[in-house]
Amino acid sequence: MITAEEIIKPENLVYTKPKLMNDTHMHYCPGCSHGVVHKLVAEVVEEMGMEEKTIGVSPVGCAVFAYNYIDIDWVEAAHGRAPAVATAVKRLSPDKMVFTYQGDGDLAAIGTAETIHACNRGENIVIIFINNAIYGMTGGQMAPTTLEGMKTSTCPFGRDVKLNGYPLKISNLIAQLDGACYVTRQSVQTSPAIKKAKKALRQAFENSMAGKGTSLVEFVSTCSSGWKMTPVQSNKWMEENMFPFYPLGDLKNE
């Protein structure tokens, strides 16, 4: 019988996961964007040679356990407070590369004040923002970013802007702030998109170490479970419905 070790030889490898990604079984649902973004973070940190200097701040939300998957030091913040936590870590240890990893509920609802003020102070941190227009971890409730008409468990007949207000384009808001040097909107549903997103992420991390101010990378993402779709349907739905409202590209790059 051929063993795995006999097949997986360095010369046979066409693809490998970054060393910083450990073997912990991920809790993310099939088709979720988190896994890809995690991998990109690990790759960029590794390629920059910053493994021993990077501190992640995980949120409350689906990515709460991000610290289980990427082998760096982490601090798990209270809901919405990651930018405040990251502010202190970076200011007290300026040689560290510090990022937050937050969802839309965490970043754009309960943590709006922390997000805006960290960006406005121009904290030299990276904010990674997963926008899937829904609360994933708690089971698919309406988020500040939920699209008009979109159904969730707390707007079962679709988001009514008269009742719930409008979907929040928080990145556009952040782009207005003098402290934010780089605000970009990316996605990870195709190989070219992933390639582009990685480049953006690398620039954001480089900005933070160059002391240029706050960089925010929004990932327009899917939530197959919350949206009650297959992964393929989710990607299609995202392209058709999310992208027109949350168009991809740089909102600010100074």
């Binding site: 200097k53 501190i55 610290y67 601090v75 798990e76 202190a88 007290l92 004040a113 922390e114």
Partner: protein, 361 residues
């Protein structure tokens, strides 16, 4: 900077002490009657001398979460506020306790509930000693009754916080914060180096090196059995603190027939009441808890066998009195005298209350 004698407000003293004790970071938000702490720090500009970070946060909520992040990095960090602001911090304090991080919180209490008043009060005793935030946790609570103790307890609070990896709180009030007294400022301590932090706080997020596993600061544990184990560990730590860290002061207690129990500014006013009572031939003593948690239960229990009664004197509706009653456990009379909402009692009032409630002749 060497040792130095100065005249200053309690709030200013906190700020000077923070710099002198080598604090790495202070994160605050203005609120009366403690804004001088942040004001004094920004005037001292310690970032130019010791390298201490001073930051005005966007809210008390952000400030305590900055403390959480800084503490997670193994740094000596602190925040300060007054009652309504400390209520806002409670979520963060619970997280800090749950993640077993050392830090220092200062509450210069004012009258409540709600927005209340800006005048002195001690109505946050329950909040401080019984939890405040969610979950079974304790704060090491120090109650300064002089401006000198505002200085000393910054050092003591941080020492205890780091000794037990637990948040410590200085529970002061508007009187202690706003009054000026003579203080001796300690010699300037040098802030710890990164190397020292790595050694002293191996759990801290100092950047994962090849020689150790990743460090994760969190209070989250979804497996209830493991979460219970965490709680059992916390409780064992709290019992150790109760065993080792009780602090109190006894004044005129030796021959006392009655004992007033009071902390912070109330203890100062009570001491005057003791002087007045003794002039009138009443043998009144004063027991001043310095640590509100751990509470000086044992000594109160001992006195309960000897005295005719205790008078708990607090600027609230009767909070610490419950802990005195638990300690006394029915052995002798326990009464409470308090003023509320920012009114401060006079020494004479306390003597009258003693006569009315306990002596009853």
């Amino acid at each position: 900077m060497s040792e130095e004698i100065r005249l200053m407000k309690g709030n200013e003293a906190i700020a000077h002490a923070a710099v002198r004790y080598g604090v790495d970071g202070y994160f605050g938000y203005p609120i009366t009657p403690q804004s001088e702490i942040l004001e004094t720090l920004t005037e001292l500009r310690p970032w130019e001398t010791t390298g201490m970070v001073v930051l005005q946060a966007e809210s008390e909520v952000a400030a305590i979460n900055m403390v959480y992040g800084g503490a997670g990095a193994g740094k000596k960090v602190m925040t300060s506020s007054s009652s309504p602001g400390v209520s806002l911090k409670q979520e963060g304090i619970s997280y800090i306790a749950g993640a077993e991080l050392p830090c220092l919180i200062v509450n210069v209490m004012r009258g409540g509930p709600g927005l209340g008043t800006i005048q002195p009060s001690q109505a946050d005793y329950f909040q401080t000693t019984k939890g405040g935030g969610h979950g079974d946790y304790r704060l090491i609570a120090l109650a300064p009754s002089s401006v000198q103790e505002m200085v000393d307890f910054v050092g003591l609070g941080l020492d205890l916080a780091f000794k037990y990896n637990n948040p410590a709180i200085i529970l002061a009030d508007g009187v202690i914060g706003q009054m000026m007294e003579k203080v001796v400022l300690p010699k300037q301590q040098i802030r710890r180096t990164e190397e020292e932090i790595r050694k002293e706080c191996p759990w801290a997020i100092t950047g994962k090196t090849a020689d150790r596993k990743r460090n994760v600061i969190t209070s989250l544990e979804l497996d209830p059995e493991r979460m219970e184990q965490n709680n059992i560990r916390f409780q064992a730590k709290y019992r150790t603190i109760e065993e080792n860290e009780v602090r109190y002061e006894e004044l005129y207690c030796e021959d006392a027939e009655y004992i007033a129990v009071a902390f912070g500014s109330s203890a100062r006013i009570c001491l005057k009441a003791v002087e007045i009572a003794r002039e009138q031939g009443i043998k009144l003593g004063l027991l001043r808890p310095i640590t509100l948690w751990p509470f000086p239960t044992k000594i109160i229990k001992e006195y309960a066998e000897k005295v005719k009664g205790f008078l708990s004197v607090e600027l609230n509706a009767g909070q610490m009195v419950e802990d005195i009653r638990l300690s006394v456990n029915g052995r002798t009379a326990v009464e409470h005298y308090g003023r509320m909402g920012g009114i401060v009692f006079s020494p004479e009032e306390i003597v009258e209350a003693l006569k009315e409630k306990l002596i009853k002749e």
